[in-house]
């Protein structure tokens, strides 16, 4: 196998990274957690869909949960690409023309990869991938553990599982065989039961024949009886129907008589209608004319009443207008405006005087405060001066005072006295300003008077407007009534005149004709009713005749059948008795059939039991054979495992010797392993113990490569790929250098070696170096060139 390229998309730490692999040693270097081992896991995941993590942890934590790995590799001369995501997988064979899809689906692709590589996942991991702890597998405590570990790596362990499976099957087969053997009784009773069932079946068959014969006789007799019974049934039915038809005939006769009475009634009404028709025609002619005369009389009466009403209203309006005086609104408005101006002037004067008063009072308060402050200051200075002067010192400079000097205290006392009089004067002024001054009082009084005059003028104006509006309304109402009166008089003149007596006479004549007219209206449909009654009478008569005829036909048929009600009933009863006998015979025959079937079923069951017994005995023999087979296979598998285990040490010794010789360029030809897997190196023809750490690492590496060789030999593939995962992890510097030297030798054995390490010096030994770095900003691992190269400007 040869790896060409891997692309990781949203896989663990990687968001989107691609790594190309070439021949020789490829070092994947990076700090812990940068995703070095993830690259190897991605390889095995792409091929086998297996991984140390769960499905949930495969996808990149910040990604879109669509983890995908694409791996290109070659086996022999063919090249492949496997693409695997969490829910799908595809395997392609790459070709120059067009890639060929080999398989699709998670399981199918895994199976196909197993076939291509001829390795299972475990074998792949054990052969291609060597982790540090695997290099040190020889450090296991006991030889058994070492043996088990090696057997597991080589796959021999499956033989133990297979042998156990076979042993379990043998045990199960044996237990089943024993159980079956105990369950199988003697064959005698089963055969006796079968014979008994055969005899019973014979009897049942005889009884069934008899009952079926009786049933046939009775059935034949019923067939003969059937025609007579049908005639009796018909006669009885006809007799019953004749009674019903008699009742129908009587009903229809009553219907016919009713219709006859209706015809007579409607003929009488038609005659009356004919008699009333002239009077009704006259009424219809006069009625519109009288109504017209009546409406004209009523309209004239109403107009005359309205005329009288209007005249009365006009007279009243004229009186009201005459009583209302004429008012000069313009004059009232002018007066009101003048009074308002006088009031505004008076109010402005009041406001001015009030402002002057407030300012004077404020000045007086300020003067009092200043005078009091000055008095307080003088008072304080006086106290201090008195105190200093008591000690004979100048209150200003603190020097001793000459006796002839005027005392400062005396001067301050005079000033204080003057200040006191100033305070009194200021307070007097303030006191005088506590009540309103005379000009303000006078102005306020004038303003109050102007306000009264203005309000009075406004009131006169409002009252004048109301009275004026009322007079105008009244005059408009008078004009309106006069116009209506004129219109009404014109209309009254246009109305025709009428004679009340003529109208009353016409109304009396019309009243005399009203009753015959109303009666003729009620009888208007009498001819139609008469025609309908005649038709119904004809139908009733036809139905009566029909019933009568049907009754006659039934009587004739009964007479022909020759049955009376009694003879027909007697015959029917006899037939029912025969039917009953047949039913009994049928039940008997069915019962006998069931008995025969049950007997046959018992016979069949008995026969099946005999057959089942034979089969069970055959199965028991087969089961015993199976037990022997599985037990023998289990033994064989165990023997093979023992044999392989016995060969493990010599084979491992051989394979590891070859690897050791290669690793050392022939310096050491080989190594020998004892039963406890303890190695001694063949130095020339001398066996020497592994002493130094370097030798120990070399031997471990040789053993690990030997094991890989054995696994890959079994798969039929040449050794081409080796993956060393942190194989240098905990080694000290010397041992690490030693092992790195061996990498050069390994490159002669394997076409492709991938070394994973956090030790950066590994790049010195590698043909290609891939640096992985976790980018905290992008929150993923990125693939980089060696740091030293990245530093060179391009």
């Amino acid at each position: 196998m040869f790896l060409r390229k891997i692309r990781l998309y949203n896989f663990r730490q990687f968001v989107d990274a691609e790594i190309d692999f070439t021949d020789g040693i490829t070092a994947i270097v990076g700090p812990n957690g940068s995703g070095k081992t993830t690259v190897i896991e991605a390889i095995s995941w792409a091929l086998y869909g297996e991984n140390r993590a769960t499905k949930e942890t495969i996808a990149h934590i910040w990604g879109d949960n669509k983890a995908e790995v694409s791996l290109e590799f070659s086996v022999g001369r063919r090249e492949y690409r496997v693409e695997r995501s969490l829910d799908s997988a595809k395997l392609w064979e790459l070709a120059a023309e067009e890639d060929k899809l080999m398989s699709t689906g998670l399981t199918a692709v895994t199976s196909q990869c197993e076939i291509l590589l001829n390795l299972t996942y475990d074998q792949f991991r054990s052969s291609f991938c060597a982790e540090q702890r695997q290099l040190e597998f020889l450090k296991f405590s006991s030889a058994e553990k070492k043996q088990d570990h090696v057997a597991k790596m080589l796959g021999f362990d499956n033989l133990r599982t297979a042998a156990k499976l076979e042993k379990d099957r043998a045990t199960a087969a044996l237990a089943e065989w024993k159980g079956m053997k105990n369950a199988l009784g003697e064959p005698g009773p089963i055969r006796e039961e079968f014979r008994r069932c055969v005899a019973e079946a014979k009897d049942a068959k005889l009884n069934l024949g008899r009952s079926r014969g009786l049933l046939k006789e009775l059935t034949d007799e019923r067939e003969k009886f059937t025609l007579r019974k049908d005639a009796a049934d018909e006669a009885l039915a006809l007799i019953k129907r004749m009674a019903e038809r008699r009742q129908i005939g009587a009903d229809r006769k009553r219907e016919m008589e009713n219709e006859t009475a209706q015809v007579a009634k409607h003929e009488k009404e038609c005659a009356e209608l004919k008699r009333l028709q002239p009077a009704a025609a006259e009424y219809s002619e006069k009625k519109p004319k009288v109504d017209e005369m009546q409406r004209a009389a009523e309209a004239r009466t109403k107009a005359e009443w309205l005329l009288a009403q209007l005249k009365a209203k006009i007279e009243e309006c004229e009186k009201k207008c005459a009583a209302m005086p004429t008012i000069d609104i313009d004059k009232l408005e002018r007066t009101s405006i003048e009074m308002a101006k006088v009031l505004a002037d008076a109010e402005r004067l009041v406001e001015k005087e009030k402002q002057l008063w407030i300012e004077s009072a404020s000045n007086a308060r300020t003067a009092v405060a200043l005078a009091e402050s000055k008095a307080d200051q003088l008072n304080s200075e006086l106290s201090r001066a008195r105190e200093m002067e008591r000690d004979g010192k100048c209150a200003t400079c603190g020097q001793s005072l000459p006796p002839q000097r005027i005392s400062l205290g005396a001067k301050l006392e005079k000033d204080l006295e003057k200040a006191g009089s100033e305070v009194s004067s200021a307070k007097k002024k303030l006191s005088a300003l506590s009540s309103a001054p005379l000009p303000l009082s006078k102005a306020s009084q004038a303003a109050d008077e102007a306000k009264g005059a203005s309000e009075s003028a406004d009131k006169n104006l409002r009252d004048g407007r109301v009275a004026h509006e009322r007079r105008m309304e009244e005059m408009a109402s008078l004009k309106n009534a006069q116009e209506q009166l004129a219109d009404l008089e014109v209309e009254l003149k246009r109305m025709p005149g009428f004679d009340r007596e003529t109208v009353e006479k016409a109304k009396a004549e019309l009243a005399a004709l009203q009753e015959p007219w109303e009666r003729s209206m009620r009888l208007a449909h009498a001819p139609e009713y008469l025609s309908a009654a005649k038709k119904r009478f004809d139908v009733a008569r036809a139905r009566f005749e029909e019933a009568k005829a049907e009754q006659g036909a039934d009587e004739a048929r009964v007479k022909k059948l020759g049955h009376t009600k009694e003879t027909a009933q007697e015959l029917i009863e006899a037939f029912e008795r025969l039917q009953k006998e047949i039913r009994n015979a049928e039940i008997n025959a069915a019962s006998q059939t069931q008995i025969a079937a049950a007997t046959i079923e018992r016979m069949r069951v008995a026969r099946d039991r005999i057959r089942s017994d034979r089969r069970s005995r055959a199965a028991a023999i087969e089961l015993h054979g199976k037990y022997i087979l599985h037990a023998e296979v289990a033994k064989g598998l165990t023997e093979l495992r023992d044999r392989l285990n016995a060969q493990t040490i010599p084979r491992l010794q051989l394979a590891a010797s070859d690897s050791l010789a290669q690793l050392t360029g022939g310096r050491y030809l080989g190594l020998k392993l004892n039963d406890r897997f303890e190695a001694t190196i063949m130095d020339g023809n001398t066996q020497k113990k592994v002493i130094s750490g370097g030798e120990e690492d070399m031997v471990h590496l040789a053993l690990r490569l030997g094991l890989a060789q054995m696994i890959q030999d079994a798969s039929g593939q040449p050794m081409s790929l080796l993956i060393l995962d942190e194989a240098f992890g905990s080694l000290d510097t010397d041992r690490r250098d030693n092992l790195m030297e061996r990498l050069d030798a390994l490159s002669g054995i394997f076409r492709q070696i991938i070394v994973i390490s956090h030790v950066e010096t590994i790049k010195e030994a590698a043909d290609q170096c891939v640096f992985l770095k976790y980018d905290p900003l992008a929150r993923c691992t990125v693939v980089e060139d060696p740091p030293c190269l990245a530093a060179i400007p391009s």
Partner: protein
């Protein structure tokens, strides 16, 4: 004009755990020595242009020693050539993963600061270099994933220099050297990456590596190494052989069936024949060796031979049947099921058991057990 074409020098290549007196890896020293020999051979022919088609270094970041030695050698060569054109097209081994990282070959580029006069390096993209009447289109390894569009120039001698395997390149359907060589008017297509000298077409050739630096050196053991001289006037390219500093010998294999340890030792000894002052790299394959014969071999014999070689590798191929004639379980190509079938075919079993059924039951159990293990 004369163009010297060489390739795949893989300077800095190390192999085996052998060191010289200076403490350097012996193979690294050998490879550098061969590189010098090749350049000396080239200088004798006084080419107008020297063309290297990739994998100049083996590693992306060669050791200081390798860099210094290489720089000195190239400087000496260019001094002698009076800064004649020396073109290097980067191969996959020195191509950085990201373009921003830079390539170590830039250190030698005479056009970039303190490089070596006359040396021109093409690391990425495609670039046409004008060398008088010859125009060289350079396609480094890193350009092979992209769409490459190079055309010969009319009226000039057009040479294409590329690093990559034709077979691999055609997979991407982007660039096919074979097609290019057939259909165009390239005077010469100089190729690198393939370690064996191979004339691809009349006007296209891989010149091969200068030394044994691939992972499978045994296949190249009998193949001559060297460089190609192309004459633009005649259009002829000639392979000039230069022997690597150290030989690789893949000795004739022999069959060890029925041979004892002593007889094998004799055969090994007689096969290991080379001049006493030479320490080659040697492989001896032996088939059908009995394991006991292998383990009983006189180690001193192998050790003596190893001391005469830089690396002596005996490739043991073991017999697939044991002394009783029974197949050896776990022999190459044999799975656990194969082992079982072989075992079951000869094991004594009770007469009541059918042998086929016995074998089949065991095989099924092994398969089932493998499934159980996988589930565990």
């Amino acid at each position: 004009m004369k163009i010297a074409h060489f390739s795949d020098t893989h300077l800095g290549f190390t192999q085996f755990s052998a060191h010289n007196e200076a403490g350097l890896n012996q193979r690294e020293s050998d490879v550098f020595g061969t590189f010098c020999d090749v350049l000396d051979s080239i200088l004798e022919h006084e080419p107008d242009i020297i063309l290297h088609t990739g994998d100049f270094f083996h590693r992306l970041r060669p050791s200081n020693h390798t860099l210094i030695a290489t720089f000195r050698k190239l400087m000496a060569v260019q001094r002698e050539r009076v800064a004649g054109a020396f073109i290097i097209v980067a191969g996959n081994h020195e191509s950085p993963r990201s373009a921003g990282s830079g390539c170590i070959l830039d250190l030698f580029d005479g056009e970039k600061g303190a490089g070596i006069p006359g040396v021109q390096v093409v690391v990425s993209g495609t670039r046409k270099l004008n060398c008088g009447e010859v125009e060289i289109a350079c396609v480094p390894s890193s350009s092979f994933g992209t769409n490459i569009n190079v055309e010969p120039v009319a009226g000039k001698v057009s040479v294409l220099a590329a690093h990559g395997l034709d077979a691999q390149l055609s997979l991407g359907s982007k660039f096919s050297i074979s097609e290019l060589a057939r259909s165009s008017e390239w005077a010469y297509i100089a190729l690198g990456d393939y370690h064996v000298h191979k004339e691809l077409m009349a006007n296209a050739a891989y010149c091969g590596s200068t030394d044994f630096t691939s992972t499978n050196i045994w296949e190249e053991a009998a193949v001559p190494k060297g460089w190609i001289l192309f004459d633009s006037e005649t259009g002829v390219h000639t392979f000039r052989e230069v022997s690597p500093r150290r030989r690789v010998l893949d000795l004739d294999p022999f069959d060890a069936t029925d041979l004892s340890s002593a007889e094998i030792a004799d055969r090994l000894h007689s096969a290991a024949q080379w001049p006493r002052d030479e320490k080659p790299i040697v492989r001896q394959r032996i088939f059908n060796v009995a394991p006991d014969a292998r383990m009983g071999l006189d180690s001193d014999v192998v050790r003596d031979i190893s001391l005469r070689a830089l690396y002596y590798y005996v490739d043991w191929k073991y017999a697939k049947k044991d002394v009783d004639g029974m197949p050896v379980p776990g022999a190459a190509g044999a799975s656990l099921e194969d082992d079982w079938r072989n075992f079951a075919s000869v094991r004594n079993i009770p007469s009541v058991i059918d042998r086929d059924e016995f074998t089949q039951t065991g095989s099924s159990a092994i398969k089932e057990a493998a499934g159980v293990s996988a589930e565990d």
